[in-house]
């Protein structure tokens, strides 16, 4: 097998990994702070893709506008969901969490089917990002490189935001001890709304970025949700660094298993998850085990 082929597969794995990273970052931050496992996260991803389709096709705005506008829209939807529904979960037993977020997922999915139809919508790679770039040793599609760059910038930005800013410190404090943050004068319910909005926005952004390389269709969120959970669990629930590392690893495993052993491509990541959990029950960098 040619090295160039392997390299391009490696890059494909990175790009796929990037989508997982963006999706799992939101999921893991929401879990770490609010203690909510959000099964509607994939539906928000799908909403991001449909928002991009709508903004590009019906409002005739360019891709850059999609990239900025759509995550904001999805974040707004997320914040409304948190204020009206998710926030009721904090005092309820865990199975309500499952029921409610699963329910939200189906409602969003069916609403999209009713509005746009079940068959999906075409979404082309924006003109500016079409074609390939010469990397010296191979040509690689511009748009895929673009996803790599955006994800790298965004992960770095998110890290800076959480570690270095005042709002980031509040988010960390809310994760450490929400009750104490409240007793020290922080309006913790708005902080939680903001965090859920942030998670939703990241998910929406992943949806916009994925729209040109995947099919924009109602089930796209459901399909990717399970893999995203695998990423979050392997990375360690609540850990940002863990999500980034695990997202990239899972991207590679999926891509290379499709190349070398297609029948095993769907099971291999679960085998890997089992292996990780047996040796490290809390995942790579998790503070608590998923099953604790």
């Amino acid at each position: 097998m040619e090295p160039v082929f392997l390299f391009s597969q490696f890059f494909n794995g990175l790009v796929l990994g990037c989508i997982y990273v963006l999706l799992s970052l939101g999921l893991t931050v929401v879990f770490g702070t609010l203690g909510v496992v959000n099964f509607a996260h994939g539906a928000l991803y799908m909403l991001g893709a449909y928002a991009a389709y709508t903004v590009a096709t019906h409002l005739h705005l360019n891709f850059l506008a999609c990239l900025i506008l759509c995550p904001v829209i999805v974040a707004g939807i997320g914040m409304v969901l948190e204020k009206c529904l998710i926030s009721k979960l904090y005092k309820l037993p865990h199975y309500y969490n499952l029921l409610l977020t699963f329910g939200i997922m189906f409602i969003i999915q069916d609403a999209i089917k009713i509005i746009f139809g079940p068959e999906g919508e075409p979404f082309n790679i924006p003109d500016l990002l079409q074609g390939a770039v010469n990397l010296g040793f191979m040509y690689y599609p511009k748009y895929r490189l673009f996803i790599l760059v955006v994800t790298a910038l965004l992960s770095g930005g998110l890290w800076l935001f959480i570690e270095k800013t005042r709002l980031g410190a509040i988010i960390r404090a809310g994760t450490d001890n929400a009750e104490m943050a409240d007793a020290l004068g922080t309006n913790i319910s708005w902080t939680f709304t903001l965090i859920f909005g942030l998670g939703a926005g990241l998910s929406g952004l992943a949806g916009v970025l994925a729209a040109p390389i995947q099919n924009v269709q109602p089930a796209m969120g459901m399909d990717i949700l399970v893999q995203t959970f695998v990423v979050v669990i392997i990375g360690g629930m609540g850990s940002i660094g863990g999500s980034i590392l695990a997202g990239l690893v899972i991207g590679q495993i999926l891509t290379f298993s499709i190349v070398f052993w297609p029948p095993g491509s769907t099971t291999l990541i679960y085998a890997f998850m089992a292996l990780v959990l047996v040796t490290r029950p809390r995942g790579f960098f998790g503070r608590v085990s998923f099953f604790e």
């Binding site: 410190a169 404090a173 007793a183 020290l184 004068g185």
Partner: protein
Amino acid sequence: MTLLQLENVHAAYDESQVLSGVSLEIAKGELVTLLGRNGAGKTTTLRTIMGLLPPRSGRISFNGQAINGLAPNRIAKLGVGYVPEERGIFPSLTVSENLMFPSWGRGETGWSLERIFHFFPRLHERASHKGSQLSGGEQQMLAIARILRAKMDLLLLDEPTEGLAPLLVETIGTILKEIKGSGLTVLLVEQNTRFACQIAERHNILYGGKIVHTCSNDEFMRDTEIQHKYLGV
């Protein structure tokens, strides 16, 4: 002038009633204690004042304003500072970040960072360490400093000497006297009666879900019967 007043406050966790009619009054500038045996409900009283456990009935007023039923962050913004038994330091925030925490809430800041670091040199040395790396004594100092930074009017302090070495207990005592001198009102919960007698002016004794006795420090020190009956010392 009364700063904090509790009238017939009832509080419970689900089914188990803990406070059944607590009445208590603290004047501005006082340093008073809340004493009682283990499990008497001292921590519960502080949590109820802070709004972390809303009272089932009764009235709590602060600076003349009813605060029962308000969210903890609203109560904090009115000037009530809380240092829980576990100190409540955020482990993933640095000492400096822990200190900036409540200061924006009230639009006015209390002690400057310079003053705090001058007063707590140990915190200065550890300014960039994470909360998780601090010793018990350092955590206690940071928890108190955090309230000073925010210019609160009332400090609810839950067993500050618990688990600290004698030398540190003495340091905490000095700090509290100094803080009192600067005008802050303190409601102190203590198991260490000897320590409480060294710094407090007045004691409230919690027993059976009520305040059964309140007296000056002198009276309390003379009355060994009270000490024996309600505190078991």
